[in-house]
């Protein structure tokens, strides 16, 4: 006999269910963990969010007469979305076939939906930025900017559906809160970019957006952790937990710096840099937490076991009620 060493000796002592909280096949993962590279995919979640929220901020800034903030946000959005697309293509196993992403339109695939959103948003963001930099066709630029402002939040939000629409336990079970974590983090990043790039005379909206975003993100993350139960563990421990703690510290420090140094260009820029880093750290933290939850079979097996026992408990209760009804 090899391998198994339970220390039990007699048949009568064998428990009906294993003593361990969960059983597994030699501790091997049930799932095949994602093959996505952190820098490409978590990086994309950060950059895509930054771009989408920046476009929304740019349109608002322009309509309220803050032209420098509007221009910087437009250019920032184009830069971020350009890098995003490069990261996405780089992550493909067959980069030369990236156009196959537009081969079909499938509402059941967030990646397909996202590809089409990017195909609409990208040119709009590009047109808005080009017009802002060159000063050509300002009206078309404004229209493109408004289009990018409407589609940008979709770019920032759909990535939450993208990771939650998997069997990865820590992602899937957090699907109710994840979109709010992601758009909150995107707002934080866009606010940060505004603070970093724009003189203090026009940074009011950037600061406000960063504060709202931070509140949304931190609240959603706290709610998510509370509801996830044992699946919140990868968000507290390991690589994921460390990155999220860094993100939280940077968020608080960045917001404080932004508030105290609101009249100072250098302090505001520093705050912006911290907020950008905070947003990136959040995305990497969420990414790593999901990876950890996919690699350990307990996160797959235990919640499913609990669900089964709740369900069979429910059925037993129903049968019991029927029995009682019959007796009456």
């Amino acid at each position: 006999m090899t391998g198994v060493a339970t220390g039990r000796r007699r048949r009568g002592e064998q428990p009906m269910v294993p003593e361990a909280e969960f059983a597994s096949y030699y501790g091997r993962p049930v799932l095949n963990p994602p093959v996505w590279k952190a820098y490409d995919i978590a990086g994309y979640f950060f950059l895509g969010g930054l771009a989408g929220a920046s476009s929304a901020l740019a349109a608002g800034a322009e309509l309220t007469g803050r032209h420098r903030l509007a221009r910087n946000a437009r250019v920032g959005a184009l830069g971020a979305i350009g890098l995003s697309v490069a990261a996405l293509i780089h992550d493909l196993g067959r980069p030369a076939r990236f156009v196959n992403m537009l081969r079909v339109a499938k509402p059941t695939s967030p990646m397909s939906v996202g590809s089409w959103i990017l195909a609409v948003y990208g040119p709009l963001a590009g047109g808005a930025a080009a017009s802002a930099v060159t000063g050509l066709v300002p009206r078309l630029g404004t229209l493109a900017g408004l289009g990018a402002a409407v589609t940008g939040p979709a770019v920032a939000g759909y990535t939450a559906a993208l990771i939650c629409d998997t069997a990865v336990p820590a992602w899937h079970e957090g699907y109710r809160e994840m979109p709010f974590v992601f758009v909150g983090s995107a707002a934080l990043a866009a606010g940060g970019l505004g603070l970093l790039t724009t003189p203090t005379g026009e940074t009011g909206p950037a600061r406000s957006l960063a504060i709202t975003g931070a509140c949304a993100e931190l609240t959603a993350l706290a709610l998510m952790r509370r509801r996830l139960g044992m699946l919140a563990e990868p968000y507290r421990t390991g690589k994921g937990g460390r990155r999220l703690r860094v993100a939280q510290a940077l968020t608080v420090a960045g917001l404080a710096t932004a508030a105290l140094g609101r009249r100072d260009r250098v302090w505001s820029a520093l705050a912006g840099g911290m907020l950008l880093a905070a947003s990136a750290a959040t995305r990497f933290g969420v990414f790593e937490a999901g990876m950890d939850s996919a690699r350990d079979p307990k996160y797959t097996v235990q919640p499913q076991r609990d669900r089964l026992s709740r369900r069979s408990g429910g059925v037993a209760a129903e049968v019991g009620e029927q029995e009682v009804g019959r007796v009456r």
Binding site: M1, Y26, G60, G93, P110, Q304
Partner: protein
């Protein structure tokens, strides 16, 4: 029974075909693994010893489409006398099981594939078109069973095709053909389910009370599987999820949450610009 081929739009498709893997008669010979590799010309997937059992394959992946699990337990198998008594330990059983792609009724890999590379065949099975796959990798974490994976040097995703190139010609898949004990049975799914139910009954009659079917229930989280199993212990003991659910079942709700969040972001940006004070 739900017919995924009909749901996909095939007019008058052939009966849904599948596997019934009866692990109670598996002898762990791995002929299925070898036959699958040979027929499908699958590359080598690592020559290493796991050191945990006679299973040196590990699990399903891009270049492993059948995987035989070995589990040793100090438990009796019905009235069997294993004849391995020593140190007063006389209970012993060896579970062996050949795992494979489940060809789900509601297949998450197929749902999330953004290129249309994964498709539903007329037999109700799920197959990757390798000339279309661009290696985005989305199908891999979508699968609740850990079946499909990326071939590193090639970049694309690969998995069992239920020998699509054989069954169209009326041949049985290579693994089923090679199985010496008929642990792997291939056929129309409704016939297989009937046969499997009878087998469970007969096993229960012989005192193997722990025999149960896995994947045969059309009301489970994936709508039942095209490849289902007779197991002698809990699914997780074999490395299978006890209650798999197709992730796209929750997708409509995910989209609703995304829509609210995205609208919130637009509103927050607008509000920030209206109320934000520059000084």
């Amino acid at each position: 029974m739900t017919d995924p081929a009909k749901d996909t739009g095939y007019q008058d498709p052939p009966p849904r075909m599948g596997f019934f893997t009866d692990t109670s008669v598996c002898i762990g010979c791995k002929a299925c693994e070898v036959a699958c590799k040979e027929w499908n010309a699958i590359p080598e997937d690592g020559i290493a010893l796991t050191g945990m059992s006679y299973d040196n394959t590990g699990g399903l992946g891009a270049s492993t489409w059948r995987h035989v699990a070995f589990i040793e337990q100090r438990r009796p198998l019905a009235m069997q006398d294993p004849g391995v008594s020593h140190d007063g330990i006389d209970d012993f059983r060896w579970l062996m099981a050949s795992d494979v792609c489940k060809h789900c009724t509601h297949a998450a890999c197929l749902d999330v594939c953004p290129t249309g590379s994964l498709f539903r065949t007329e037999f109700g099975t799920v197959v990757v078109q390798e000339d279309i796959c661009n290696g985005c990798g989305y199908c891999i974490p979508a699968c609740p069973y850990g079946v499909i994976d990326q071939r590193k040097d090639d970049g694309r995703a690969w998995k069992c095709t239920l020998c699509y190139d054989r069954i169209g010609d009326g041949l049985e898949p290579a693994c089923a053909k090679a199985c010496p004990t008929d642990s792997i049975q291939y056929g129309p799914l409704d016939e297989l389910r009937e046969r499997a139910a009878q087998r469970v009954e007969s096993l229960h009659g012989s005192g193997v009370s722990e025999a149960r079917l896995y994947g045969a229930d059309p009301d489970d989280g994936v709508g039942g599987t095209g490849a289902f199993f007779l197991l002698l212990d809990e699914p997780e003991v074999y490395g299978l999820p006890p209650d798999p659910v197709v992730t796209t079942r929750d997708l409509p709700s995910m989209w609703r949450h995304v829509a609210v969040a995205a609208a919130g972001l637009l509103g927050a940006a607008a509000l920030a610009c209206v109320t934000g004070r520059d000084r």
